[in-house]
Protein backbone atom coordinates (compact mmCIF):
# COMPACT_ATOMS: atom_id res chain seq x y z
CA UNK A 1 0.00 0.00 0.00
CA UNK A 2 1.44 3.34 -1.08
CA UNK A 3 2.04 6.06 1.46
CA UNK A 4 -0.81 8.60 1.54
CA UNK A 5 0.11 12.27 1.83
CA UNK A 6 -1.70 15.59 1.70
CA UNK A 7 -0.14 17.70 -1.06
CA UNK A 8 -1.02 20.84 0.85
CA UNK A 9 0.90 19.69 3.92
CA UNK A 10 3.96 19.35 1.71
CA UNK A 11 3.20 22.74 0.17
CA UNK A 12 3.08 24.47 3.56
CA UNK A 13 6.31 22.82 4.68
CA UNK A 14 8.07 23.73 1.43
CA UNK A 15 6.99 27.35 1.79
CA UNK A 16 8.64 27.47 5.20
CA UNK A 17 11.80 26.00 3.68
CA UNK A 18 11.81 28.67 0.93
CA UNK A 19 11.02 31.39 3.44
CA UNK A 20 14.11 30.46 5.43
CA UNK A 21 16.28 30.58 2.32
CA UNK A 22 15.01 33.81 0.84
CA UNK A 23 13.54 36.86 2.51
CA UNK A 24 11.83 37.93 -0.70
CA UNK A 25 9.30 35.12 -0.40
CA UNK A 26 5.93 36.57 0.55
CA UNK A 27 2.75 34.53 1.04
CA UNK A 28 -0.85 35.67 0.66
CA UNK A 29 -4.04 33.83 1.52
CA UNK A 30 -7.75 34.63 1.50
CA UNK A 31 -9.07 33.28 4.79
CA UNK A 32 -8.21 29.67 3.99
CA UNK A 33 -4.72 29.45 5.41
CA UNK A 34 -5.66 26.60 7.75
CA UNK A 35 -6.85 24.56 4.76
CA UNK A 36 -4.22 25.59 2.22
CA UNK A 37 -1.53 25.21 4.91
CA UNK A 38 0.02 28.60 4.24
CA UNK A 39 -0.53 29.11 7.97
CA UNK A 40 2.71 27.17 8.49
CA UNK A 41 4.56 29.98 6.72
CA UNK A 42 2.48 32.58 8.55
CA UNK A 43 3.46 31.12 11.91
CA UNK A 44 7.17 31.33 11.15
CA UNK A 45 7.21 34.57 9.13
CA UNK A 46 4.22 36.63 10.28
CA UNK A 47 5.65 39.83 8.79
CA UNK A 48 5.78 38.26 5.33
CA UNK A 49 2.37 36.63 5.48
CA UNK A 50 -0.76 38.58 4.61
CA UNK A 51 -4.27 37.31 5.11
CA UNK A 52 -6.53 39.22 2.74
CA UNK A 53 -9.79 37.92 4.11
CA UNK A 54 -12.45 36.71 1.72
CA UNK A 55 -11.34 39.01 -1.11
CA UNK A 56 -9.54 37.09 -3.84
CA UNK A 57 -9.57 39.82 -6.48
CA UNK A 58 -7.76 42.22 -4.20
CA UNK A 59 -5.32 39.50 -3.18
CA UNK A 60 -4.37 38.67 -6.78
CA UNK A 61 -3.85 42.27 -7.84
CA UNK A 62 -1.95 43.08 -4.64
CA UNK A 63 0.28 40.06 -5.36
CA UNK A 64 1.13 41.74 -8.66
CA UNK A 65 2.00 44.96 -6.83
CA UNK A 66 4.29 43.10 -4.44
CA UNK A 67 5.93 41.27 -7.33
CA UNK A 68 6.50 44.57 -9.16
CA UNK A 69 8.77 45.48 -6.24
CA UNK A 70 10.83 42.31 -6.49
CA UNK A 71 8.95 39.93 -4.21
CA UNK A 72 8.31 36.30 -5.11
CA UNK A 73 4.70 35.97 -4.13
CA UNK A 74 2.91 32.71 -3.37
CA UNK A 75 -0.85 33.15 -3.37
CA UNK A 76 -3.22 30.50 -2.12
CA UNK A 77 -6.90 29.84 -1.89
CA UNK A 78 -9.20 27.11 -3.18
CA UNK A 79 -8.92 26.39 -6.91
CA UNK A 80 -12.51 27.52 -7.47
CA UNK A 81 -11.76 31.04 -6.27
CA UNK A 82 -8.16 31.27 -7.47
CA UNK A 83 -9.09 30.49 -11.05
CA UNK A 84 -12.63 31.77 -11.39
CA UNK A 85 -13.28 34.57 -8.96
CA UNK A 86 -10.18 36.54 -9.80
CA UNK A 87 -9.59 35.56 -13.43
CA UNK A 88 -9.37 39.11 -14.75
CA UNK A 89 -6.83 40.05 -12.07
CA UNK A 90 -4.80 36.94 -12.89
CA UNK A 91 -4.98 37.63 -16.62
CA UNK A 92 -4.51 41.39 -16.78
CA UNK A 93 -2.44 42.19 -13.74
CA UNK A 94 -0.36 39.08 -13.03
CA UNK A 95 0.15 37.37 -16.40
CA UNK A 96 0.13 40.37 -18.73
CA UNK A 97 2.90 41.87 -16.60
CA UNK A 98 4.64 38.48 -16.39
CA UNK A 99 5.14 38.87 -12.66
CA UNK A 100 6.62 36.37 -10.20
CA UNK A 101 3.31 35.35 -8.72
CA UNK A 102 2.86 31.67 -7.95
CA UNK A 103 -0.78 30.77 -7.51
CA UNK A 104 -0.99 27.56 -5.55
CA UNK A 105 -4.62 26.48 -5.62
CA UNK A 106 -5.75 23.73 -3.32
CA UNK A 107 -9.01 21.75 -3.11
CA UNK A 108 -9.18 21.33 -6.88
CA UNK A 109 -11.39 18.86 -8.69
CA UNK A 110 -14.25 16.64 -7.74
CA UNK A 111 -12.40 14.99 -4.85
CA UNK A 112 -13.17 18.08 -2.77
CA UNK A 113 -16.08 15.80 -1.98
CA UNK A 114 -18.70 16.68 0.58
CA UNK A 115 -18.68 20.46 -0.02
CA UNK A 116 -20.37 19.82 -3.33
CA UNK A 117 -20.43 21.42 -6.77
CA UNK A 118 -19.94 25.06 -5.74
CA UNK A 119 -16.51 24.16 -4.39
CA UNK A 120 -15.43 21.60 -6.98
CA UNK A 121 -13.23 23.42 -9.49
CA UNK A 122 -13.30 21.29 -12.62
CA UNK A 123 -12.79 24.13 -15.09
CA UNK A 124 -9.68 25.72 -13.59
CA UNK A 125 -7.13 24.15 -15.93
CA UNK A 126 -9.11 25.45 -18.91
CA UNK A 127 -9.23 28.93 -17.40
CA UNK A 128 -5.54 29.07 -16.56
CA UNK A 129 -4.16 27.23 -19.56
CA UNK A 130 -5.33 29.85 -22.03
CA UNK A 131 -3.42 32.79 -20.54
CA UNK A 132 -0.08 33.75 -22.13
CA UNK A 133 2.98 33.66 -19.80
CA UNK A 134 1.19 31.35 -17.34
CA UNK A 135 2.75 28.02 -16.45
CA UNK A 136 0.29 25.37 -15.34
CA UNK A 137 1.38 22.40 -13.24
CA UNK A 138 -0.56 19.58 -11.60
CA UNK A 139 1.65 17.50 -9.29
CA UNK A 140 0.68 13.86 -8.95
CA UNK A 141 1.51 13.36 -5.27
CA UNK A 142 3.08 14.83 -2.14
CA UNK A 143 6.77 14.49 -3.01
CA UNK A 144 6.27 15.88 -6.50
CA UNK A 145 4.46 18.85 -4.97
CA UNK A 146 7.65 19.84 -3.17
CA UNK A 147 9.68 19.68 -6.38
CA UNK A 148 7.07 21.73 -8.23
CA UNK A 149 6.97 24.45 -5.58
CA UNK A 150 10.75 24.75 -5.53
CA UNK A 151 10.85 24.86 -9.34
CA UNK A 152 8.18 27.57 -9.38
CA UNK A 153 10.23 29.60 -6.93
CA UNK A 154 13.30 29.28 -9.14
CA UNK A 155 11.51 29.94 -12.44
CA UNK A 156 10.57 33.52 -13.31
CA UNK A 157 6.99 34.39 -14.16
CA UNK A 158 3.51 33.34 -13.09
CA UNK A 159 2.45 29.79 -12.21
CA UNK A 160 -0.82 28.07 -11.52
CA UNK A 161 -0.19 24.98 -9.41
CA UNK A 162 -3.15 22.73 -8.76
CA UNK A 163 -3.32 20.68 -5.57
CA UNK A 164 -6.01 18.41 -4.18
CA UNK A 165 -7.81 18.31 -0.90
CA UNK A 166 -7.56 14.63 -0.06
CA UNK A 167 -4.53 12.49 0.61
CA UNK A 168 -2.78 11.32 -2.56
CA UNK A 169 -0.97 7.98 -2.78
CA UNK A 170 2.75 8.53 -3.33
CA UNK A 171 3.88 7.39 -6.77
CA UNK A 172 6.98 5.24 -6.46
CA UNK A 173 9.77 5.09 -9.04
CA UNK A 174 8.92 8.48 -10.44
CA UNK A 175 11.61 10.45 -12.31
CA UNK A 176 12.45 13.82 -10.74
CA UNK A 177 10.10 16.63 -11.76
CA UNK A 178 11.25 18.72 -14.69
CA UNK A 179 9.06 21.63 -15.75
CA UNK A 180 7.62 21.06 -19.22
CA UNK A 181 9.08 17.57 -19.54
CA UNK A 182 6.59 14.73 -19.29
CA UNK A 183 7.57 11.99 -16.93
CA UNK A 184 7.26 8.52 -18.39
CA UNK A 185 6.30 6.09 -15.63
CA UNK A 186 5.96 2.85 -17.55
CA UNK A 187 7.13 1.78 -20.97
CA UNK A 188 4.46 0.28 -23.22
CA UNK A 189 3.83 -0.38 -26.87
CA UNK A 190 0.09 -0.67 -27.47
CA UNK A 191 -1.65 2.20 -25.75
CA UNK A 192 -0.62 5.45 -24.07
CA UNK A 193 -2.20 6.69 -20.87
CA UNK A 194 -1.57 10.34 -20.12
CA UNK A 195 -2.68 11.54 -16.71
CA UNK A 196 -2.19 14.33 -14.23
CA UNK A 197 -2.84 14.84 -10.54
CA UNK A 198 -4.60 12.13 -8.59
CA UNK A 199 -5.42 10.22 -11.76
CA UNK A 200 -1.76 9.32 -12.21
CA UNK A 201 -2.19 6.72 -9.46
CA UNK A 202 -5.34 5.46 -11.12
CA UNK A 203 -3.46 5.23 -14.41
CA UNK A 204 -0.78 3.11 -12.75
CA UNK A 205 -3.44 0.78 -11.35
CA UNK A 206 -4.90 0.55 -14.85
CA UNK A 207 -1.46 -0.31 -16.16
CA UNK A 208 -1.27 -3.31 -13.81
CA UNK A 209 -4.73 -4.51 -14.82
CA UNK A 210 -3.95 -4.14 -18.50
CA UNK A 211 -0.69 -6.01 -18.03
CA UNK A 212 -2.60 -8.94 -16.59
CA UNK A 213 -4.68 -8.90 -19.76
CA UNK A 214 -1.51 -8.78 -21.88
CA UNK A 215 -2.00 -5.20 -22.98
CA UNK A 216 1.13 -3.11 -22.90
CA UNK A 217 0.52 0.47 -21.77
CA UNK A 218 2.81 3.45 -21.55
CA UNK A 219 1.84 5.64 -18.59
CA UNK A 220 2.83 9.29 -18.70
CA UNK A 221 2.57 11.71 -15.82
CA UNK A 222 1.83 14.94 -17.68
CA UNK A 223 2.35 17.20 -14.68
CA UNK A 224 2.97 20.30 -16.80
CA UNK A 225 0.05 21.41 -18.95
CA UNK A 226 1.80 24.58 -19.99
CA UNK A 227 4.41 24.58 -21.45
CA UNK A 228 3.23 21.23 -22.76
CA UNK A 229 5.71 18.51 -23.74
CA UNK A 230 4.39 18.11 -27.26
CA UNK A 231 7.34 15.99 -28.39
CA UNK A 232 6.50 13.21 -25.96
CA UNK A 233 2.84 13.33 -26.98
CA UNK A 234 3.69 13.12 -30.69
CA UNK A 235 6.02 10.18 -30.06
CA UNK A 236 3.31 8.34 -28.14
CA UNK A 237 0.78 9.09 -30.85
CA UNK A 238 3.19 7.54 -33.35
CA UNK A 239 4.29 4.57 -31.28
CA UNK A 240 1.00 3.34 -29.84
CA UNK A 241 -2.52 2.79 -31.17
CA UNK A 242 -4.04 5.65 -29.28
CA UNK A 243 -4.09 7.74 -26.14
CA UNK A 244 -6.28 7.75 -23.05
CA UNK A 245 -6.16 11.09 -21.24
CA UNK A 246 -7.16 11.10 -17.58
CA UNK A 247 -7.84 14.18 -15.51
CA UNK A 248 -10.03 15.29 -12.65
CA UNK A 249 -11.36 18.07 -14.84
CA UNK A 250 -14.14 18.98 -17.25
CA UNK A 251 -13.92 17.55 -20.73
CA UNK A 252 -13.50 21.02 -22.21
CA UNK A 253 -10.23 22.87 -22.01
CA UNK A 254 -8.05 20.74 -19.75
CA UNK A 255 -5.33 18.18 -20.35
CA UNK A 256 -7.38 16.15 -22.83
CA UNK A 257 -7.91 19.21 -25.00
CA UNK A 258 -4.24 20.09 -24.71
CA UNK A 259 -3.34 16.61 -25.99
CA UNK A 260 -5.95 16.89 -28.77
CA UNK A 261 -4.44 20.16 -29.92
CA UNK A 262 -1.06 18.50 -30.35
CA UNK A 263 -2.12 15.23 -31.99
CA UNK A 264 -4.63 16.85 -34.36
CA UNK A 265 -1.90 18.98 -35.81
CA UNK A 266 0.96 16.52 -35.75
CA UNK A 267 -0.20 12.92 -35.78
CA UNK A 268 -3.98 12.37 -35.66
CA UNK A 269 -4.87 9.36 -33.57
CA UNK A 270 -7.61 8.18 -31.23
CA UNK A 271 -7.78 10.18 -28.01
CA UNK A 272 -10.20 8.83 -25.40
CA UNK A 273 -11.08 10.88 -22.38
CA UNK A 274 -11.44 9.87 -18.79
CA UNK A 275 -12.70 13.16 -17.40
CA UNK A 276 -15.94 14.88 -16.43
CA UNK A 277 -18.49 15.14 -19.19
CA UNK A 278 -20.34 18.46 -19.16
CA UNK A 279 -21.73 18.12 -15.65
CA UNK A 280 -21.37 19.83 -12.31
CA UNK A 281 -20.23 17.79 -9.35
CA UNK A 282 -22.20 17.05 -6.18
CA UNK A 283 -21.69 16.11 -2.57
CA UNK A 284 -20.26 12.77 -1.64
CA UNK A 285 -17.03 11.17 -0.57
CA UNK A 286 -14.07 11.58 -2.91
CA UNK A 287 -14.11 7.84 -3.56
CA UNK A 288 -17.81 7.77 -4.36
CA UNK A 289 -17.48 10.74 -6.71
CA UNK A 290 -14.54 9.25 -8.60
CA UNK A 291 -16.78 6.24 -9.10
CA UNK A 292 -19.82 8.27 -10.13
CA UNK A 293 -17.95 10.42 -12.64
CA UNK A 294 -16.08 7.48 -14.15
CA UNK A 295 -12.62 8.51 -13.10
CA UNK A 296 -11.40 5.13 -11.79
CA UNK A 297 -8.75 2.79 -13.05
CA UNK A 298 -11.52 0.54 -14.39
CA UNK A 299 -12.68 3.40 -16.61
CA UNK A 300 -9.14 3.87 -17.87
CA UNK A 301 -8.84 0.14 -18.55
CA UNK A 302 -12.10 0.19 -20.52
CA UNK A 303 -10.94 3.14 -22.62
CA UNK A 304 -7.54 1.55 -23.25
CA UNK A 305 -9.16 -1.70 -24.34
CA UNK A 306 -11.41 0.12 -26.81
CA UNK A 307 -8.34 1.69 -28.31
CA UNK A 308 -6.53 -1.60 -28.79
CA UNK A 309 -9.74 -3.13 -30.15
CA UNK A 310 -10.66 -5.46 -27.33
Amino acid sequence: MAEMVYQRDIYGQTLVELGRQNKNVVVLDADLSCSTKTKLFGAEFPERFFNFGVAEQNMMAAAAGLASCGKVVFVSTFAMFASGRAWDQVRNTICYNNFDVKIVATHAGITVGEDGASHQAIEDLALMRCIPNMKVVVPCDGPETREVIITAFNTPGPFYIRLGRSKFPTVTDRPPFKLGKASILTQGTEVTIIACGILVSEALKAYEDLKKQNISAQVINMHTLRPLDSQTIIQSARNTKGIVVCEEHAAVGGLACAVDEIVCENHPTKVYRVNIKDKFGQSGSAERLLEEYHLRSSDIVAAAKSIVGQ
Binding site: G53, A63, A67, N92
Partner: protein, 271 residues
Amino acid sequence: MVAKKVNELKEKAKQMRRLIIEMLAKAGSGHPGGSLSSTDIIATLYFHVLRHRPKEPNWPDRDRFHLSKGHCCPALYAALALSGYFDIKELFTLRQFGSLLQGHPDRRTPGVEVASGSLGQGLSVALGMSLAGKLDEKDYRVYCLLGDGECQEGNIWEAAMAAAHFQCDNLCAILDYNEVQIDGRVSEIMDLEPLREKWVSFGWYVIQTDGHNFEKLINAFEEAKTVKIKPTIIIAKTVKGKGVSFMENVVDFHGRAPNENERKKALEELK
Protein backbone atom coordinates in the same frame (compact mmCIF):
# COMPACT_ATOMS: atom_id res chain seq x y z
CA MET B 1 8.36 80.17 -3.69
CA VAL B 2 4.94 78.56 -3.89
CA ALA B 3 3.84 81.07 -6.52
CA LYS B 4 6.86 80.21 -8.62
CA LYS B 5 6.13 76.49 -8.30
CA VAL B 6 2.49 77.02 -9.18
CA ASN B 7 3.44 78.95 -12.30
CA GLU B 8 5.86 76.25 -13.29
CA LEU B 9 3.18 73.57 -12.83
CA LYS B 10 0.66 75.63 -14.80
CA GLU B 11 3.11 75.80 -17.67
CA LYS B 12 3.80 72.03 -17.52
CA ALA B 13 0.10 71.25 -17.38
CA LYS B 14 -0.53 73.42 -20.42
CA GLN B 15 2.22 71.63 -22.34
CA MET B 16 0.72 68.31 -21.26
CA ARG B 17 -2.75 69.31 -22.43
CA ARG B 18 -1.43 70.39 -25.82
CA LEU B 19 0.42 67.10 -26.16
CA ILE B 20 -2.67 65.14 -25.11
CA ILE B 21 -4.77 66.83 -27.81
CA GLU B 22 -2.09 66.35 -30.43
CA MET B 23 -1.34 62.73 -29.66
CA LEU B 24 -5.02 61.77 -29.50
CA ALA B 25 -5.79 63.57 -32.76
CA LYS B 26 -2.88 61.75 -34.38
CA ALA B 27 -3.97 58.41 -32.91
CA GLY B 28 -7.57 58.93 -34.01
CA SER B 29 -8.91 57.25 -30.90
CA GLY B 30 -8.48 57.39 -27.13
CA HIS B 31 -9.81 59.18 -24.08
CA PRO B 32 -9.45 62.96 -23.90
CA GLY B 33 -12.03 63.69 -21.16
CA GLY B 34 -10.36 61.91 -18.27
CA SER B 35 -6.86 62.65 -19.54
CA LEU B 36 -7.62 66.36 -19.32
CA SER B 37 -9.40 66.11 -15.97
CA SER B 38 -6.41 64.34 -14.43
CA THR B 39 -3.70 66.48 -16.08
CA ASP B 40 -3.21 68.90 -13.19
CA ILE B 41 -3.02 66.06 -10.65
CA ILE B 42 -0.47 64.18 -12.75
CA ALA B 43 1.52 67.37 -13.39
CA THR B 44 1.67 68.07 -9.66
CA LEU B 45 2.90 64.54 -9.04
CA TYR B 46 5.53 64.32 -11.76
CA PHE B 47 6.85 67.88 -11.51
CA HIS B 48 6.67 68.40 -7.78
CA VAL B 49 5.69 65.49 -5.54
CA LEU B 50 7.33 62.34 -6.87
CA ARG B 51 10.86 61.37 -5.94
CA HIS B 52 12.03 59.83 -9.19
CA ARG B 53 14.88 59.61 -11.66
CA PRO B 54 13.58 59.61 -15.24
CA LYS B 55 16.91 58.33 -16.57
CA GLU B 56 16.87 55.51 -14.04
CA PRO B 57 13.26 54.26 -14.09
CA ASN B 58 14.06 51.23 -11.91
CA TRP B 59 15.81 53.20 -9.15
CA PRO B 60 14.82 51.12 -6.10
CA ASP B 61 14.05 54.13 -3.90
CA ARG B 62 11.72 55.85 -6.34
CA ASP B 63 8.20 56.76 -5.32
CA ARG B 64 5.73 54.56 -7.16
CA PHE B 65 2.92 55.94 -9.29
CA HIS B 66 0.24 53.66 -10.63
CA LEU B 67 -2.46 54.85 -13.02
CA SER B 68 -5.44 52.72 -12.10
CA LYS B 69 -7.66 54.53 -14.60
CA GLY B 70 -5.44 53.28 -17.40
CA HIS B 71 -7.47 54.80 -20.23
CA CYS B 72 -6.16 58.23 -19.22
CA CYS B 73 -2.61 57.24 -20.15
CA PRO B 74 -2.19 60.14 -22.61
CA ALA B 75 -1.81 62.39 -19.57
CA LEU B 76 0.70 59.99 -18.02
CA TYR B 77 2.62 59.62 -21.29
CA ALA B 78 2.83 63.40 -21.66
CA ALA B 79 4.19 63.72 -18.10
CA LEU B 80 6.69 60.91 -18.65
CA ALA B 81 7.92 62.42 -21.91
CA LEU B 82 8.23 65.91 -20.43
CA SER B 83 10.09 64.40 -17.45
CA GLY B 84 12.58 62.78 -19.81
CA TYR B 85 11.64 59.09 -19.57
CA PHE B 86 11.54 58.94 -23.37
CA ASP B 87 11.57 61.26 -26.35
CA ILE B 88 8.56 63.50 -26.88
CA LYS B 89 8.27 62.34 -30.47
CA GLU B 90 7.22 58.90 -29.17
CA LEU B 91 3.94 60.51 -28.12
CA PHE B 92 2.87 60.74 -31.73
CA THR B 93 3.06 56.98 -32.15
CA LEU B 94 0.38 56.45 -29.48
CA ARG B 95 -1.86 53.44 -30.21
CA GLN B 96 -0.03 52.58 -33.42
CA PHE B 97 1.35 49.15 -34.18
CA GLY B 98 4.78 48.66 -32.64
CA SER B 99 4.53 51.79 -30.48
CA LEU B 100 6.19 52.15 -27.12
CA LEU B 101 2.89 53.71 -26.06
CA GLN B 102 0.05 51.21 -26.01
CA GLY B 103 -3.61 52.18 -25.87
CA HIS B 104 -3.54 51.40 -22.17
CA PRO B 105 -0.41 51.41 -19.97
CA ASP B 106 2.04 48.59 -20.54
CA ARG B 107 5.42 47.89 -18.99
CA ARG B 108 7.21 48.32 -22.31
CA THR B 109 6.93 52.07 -21.62
CA PRO B 110 9.75 53.43 -19.45
CA GLY B 111 8.20 54.73 -16.25
CA VAL B 112 5.15 52.44 -16.30
CA GLU B 113 5.39 50.21 -13.23
CA VAL B 114 2.46 47.88 -13.87
CA ALA B 115 0.05 47.59 -16.79
CA SER B 116 -3.48 48.78 -16.24
CA GLY B 117 -6.67 49.18 -18.19
CA SER B 118 -9.06 46.70 -16.65
CA LEU B 119 -10.62 48.99 -14.08
CA GLY B 120 -10.78 48.56 -10.34
CA GLN B 121 -7.49 46.73 -9.84
CA GLY B 122 -5.04 49.59 -9.44
CA LEU B 123 -5.61 50.30 -5.79
CA SER B 124 -4.79 46.66 -5.04
CA VAL B 125 -1.61 46.94 -7.08
CA ALA B 126 -0.65 50.06 -5.12
CA LEU B 127 -1.45 48.25 -1.90
CA GLY B 128 0.99 45.51 -2.90
CA MET B 129 3.66 48.13 -3.61
CA SER B 130 2.99 49.72 -0.26
CA LEU B 131 3.37 46.41 1.57
CA ALA B 132 6.62 45.72 -0.30
CA GLY B 133 7.98 49.12 0.70
CA LYS B 134 7.21 48.43 4.33
CA LEU B 135 8.75 44.95 4.18
CA ASP B 136 11.91 46.37 2.63
CA GLU B 137 11.95 49.25 5.11
CA LYS B 138 12.05 51.71 2.23
CA ASP B 139 10.73 55.21 2.68
CA TYR B 140 9.27 55.54 -0.81
CA ARG B 141 5.63 56.52 -1.14
CA VAL B 142 3.03 54.97 -3.39
CA TYR B 143 0.57 57.09 -5.37
CA CYS B 144 -2.41 55.69 -7.20
CA LEU B 145 -4.77 57.66 -9.43
CA LEU B 146 -8.33 56.35 -9.43
CA GLY B 147 -11.26 57.25 -11.63
CA ASP B 148 -14.69 57.84 -10.20
CA GLY B 149 -16.41 55.37 -12.52
CA GLU B 150 -14.06 52.61 -11.47
CA CYS B 151 -15.06 53.07 -7.84
CA GLN B 152 -18.17 51.17 -8.87
CA GLU B 153 -15.96 48.06 -9.01
CA GLY B 154 -16.05 45.88 -5.92
CA ASN B 155 -12.32 45.30 -6.13
CA ILE B 156 -11.72 48.97 -5.20
CA TRP B 157 -13.50 48.50 -1.90
CA GLU B 158 -11.73 45.23 -1.16
CA ALA B 159 -8.48 47.15 -1.59
CA ALA B 160 -9.76 50.08 0.47
CA MET B 161 -10.59 47.76 3.34
CA ALA B 162 -7.23 46.01 3.17
CA ALA B 163 -5.09 49.15 2.88
CA ALA B 164 -6.61 50.49 6.08
CA HIS B 165 -6.31 47.09 7.76
CA PHE B 166 -2.62 46.84 6.89
CA GLN B 167 -2.10 50.48 7.97
CA CYS B 168 -0.63 51.53 4.64
CA ASP B 169 0.30 55.09 5.55
CA ASN B 170 2.83 55.19 2.72
CA LEU B 171 -0.08 54.94 0.28
CA CYS B 172 -1.86 57.95 -1.16
CA ALA B 173 -4.74 57.49 -3.58
CA ILE B 174 -6.07 60.37 -5.63
CA LEU B 175 -9.59 60.27 -6.98
CA ASP B 176 -10.13 62.17 -10.21
CA TYR B 177 -13.72 63.07 -9.42
CA ASN B 178 -14.93 64.45 -12.73
CA GLU B 179 -18.41 63.00 -12.25
CA VAL B 180 -18.72 61.69 -15.80
CA GLN B 181 -18.37 58.14 -17.11
CA ILE B 182 -18.87 56.60 -20.54
CA ASP B 183 -22.62 56.22 -20.38
CA GLY B 184 -23.35 59.53 -18.66
CA ARG B 185 -23.11 61.27 -15.33
CA VAL B 186 -21.82 59.12 -12.48
CA SER B 187 -24.69 60.20 -10.23
CA GLU B 188 -27.17 58.88 -12.78
CA ILE B 189 -25.38 55.70 -13.84
CA MET B 190 -24.42 54.47 -10.36
CA ASP B 191 -24.13 57.12 -7.70
CA LEU B 192 -21.01 57.02 -5.51
CA GLU B 193 -22.17 59.47 -2.87
CA PRO B 194 -21.66 59.92 -0.03
CA LEU B 195 -18.11 59.38 -1.13
CA ARG B 196 -16.19 61.07 1.68
CA GLU B 197 -18.17 59.10 4.25
CA LYS B 198 -17.51 55.86 2.42
CA TRP B 199 -13.74 56.31 2.52
CA VAL B 200 -13.80 57.57 6.10
CA SER B 201 -15.81 54.56 7.18
CA PHE B 202 -13.32 52.29 5.41
CA GLY B 203 -10.60 53.73 7.65
CA TRP B 204 -8.96 56.23 5.30
CA TYR B 205 -7.77 59.75 5.94
CA VAL B 206 -9.72 61.85 3.46
CA ILE B 207 -8.70 65.18 1.94
CA GLN B 208 -11.14 66.92 -0.38
CA THR B 209 -9.75 69.48 -2.74
CA ASP B 210 -9.96 71.20 -6.08
CA GLY B 211 -8.12 69.02 -8.58
CA HIS B 212 -7.27 72.00 -10.77
CA ASN B 213 -5.80 74.26 -8.07
CA PHE B 214 -2.06 73.61 -7.85
CA GLU B 215 -1.55 75.30 -4.52
CA LYS B 216 -4.29 73.20 -2.97
CA LEU B 217 -2.99 70.05 -4.63
CA ILE B 218 0.53 70.70 -3.34
CA ASN B 219 -0.84 71.24 0.16
CA ALA B 220 -2.98 68.10 -0.04
CA PHE B 221 0.03 65.96 -0.98
CA GLU B 222 2.06 67.54 1.82
CA GLU B 223 -0.73 66.86 4.31
CA ALA B 224 -0.96 63.25 3.14
CA LYS B 225 2.72 62.72 3.94
CA THR B 226 2.11 63.62 7.57
CA VAL B 227 -0.65 61.05 8.09
CA LYS B 228 0.37 58.08 10.20
CA ILE B 229 -1.24 54.62 10.40
CA LYS B 230 -3.96 55.39 7.85
CA PRO B 231 -3.80 55.48 4.06
CA THR B 232 -4.87 58.77 2.52
CA ILE B 233 -7.21 59.53 -0.34
CA ILE B 234 -7.31 62.94 -1.97
CA ILE B 235 -10.76 63.35 -3.47
CA ALA B 236 -9.97 65.88 -6.16
CA LYS B 237 -12.96 67.57 -7.72
CA THR B 238 -12.22 67.96 -11.39
CA VAL B 239 -13.88 68.84 -14.66
CA LYS B 240 -13.97 66.25 -17.40
CA GLY B 241 -12.22 67.64 -20.46
CA LYS B 242 -10.74 70.51 -18.42
CA GLY B 243 -9.02 73.21 -20.43
CA VAL B 244 -10.84 72.75 -23.72
CA SER B 245 -14.17 74.56 -23.57
CA PHE B 246 -16.07 72.31 -25.95
CA MET B 247 -14.87 69.16 -24.19
CA GLU B 248 -15.65 70.25 -20.65
CA ASN B 249 -18.36 68.09 -19.07
CA VAL B 250 -19.20 66.60 -22.46
CA VAL B 251 -19.86 62.89 -22.07
CA ASP B 252 -19.00 62.19 -25.71
CA PHE B 253 -15.37 63.15 -25.15
CA HIS B 254 -14.85 60.41 -22.58
CA GLY B 255 -13.71 58.14 -25.35
CA ARG B 256 -13.60 60.05 -28.62
CA ALA B 257 -10.49 61.66 -30.06
CA PRO B 258 -10.64 65.18 -31.49
CA ASN B 259 -10.95 65.48 -35.26
CA GLU B 260 -8.79 67.93 -37.22
CA ASN B 261 -11.06 70.93 -36.60
CA GLU B 262 -11.40 70.12 -32.94
CA ARG B 263 -7.67 69.68 -32.65
CA LYS B 264 -7.05 73.15 -34.06
CA LYS B 265 -9.72 74.74 -31.89
CA ALA B 266 -8.40 73.02 -28.78
CA LEU B 267 -4.81 74.03 -29.42
CA GLU B 268 -5.98 77.59 -30.03
CA GLU B 269 -7.54 77.58 -26.56
CA LEU B 270 -4.43 76.06 -24.98
CA LYS B 271 -2.02 78.75 -26.11
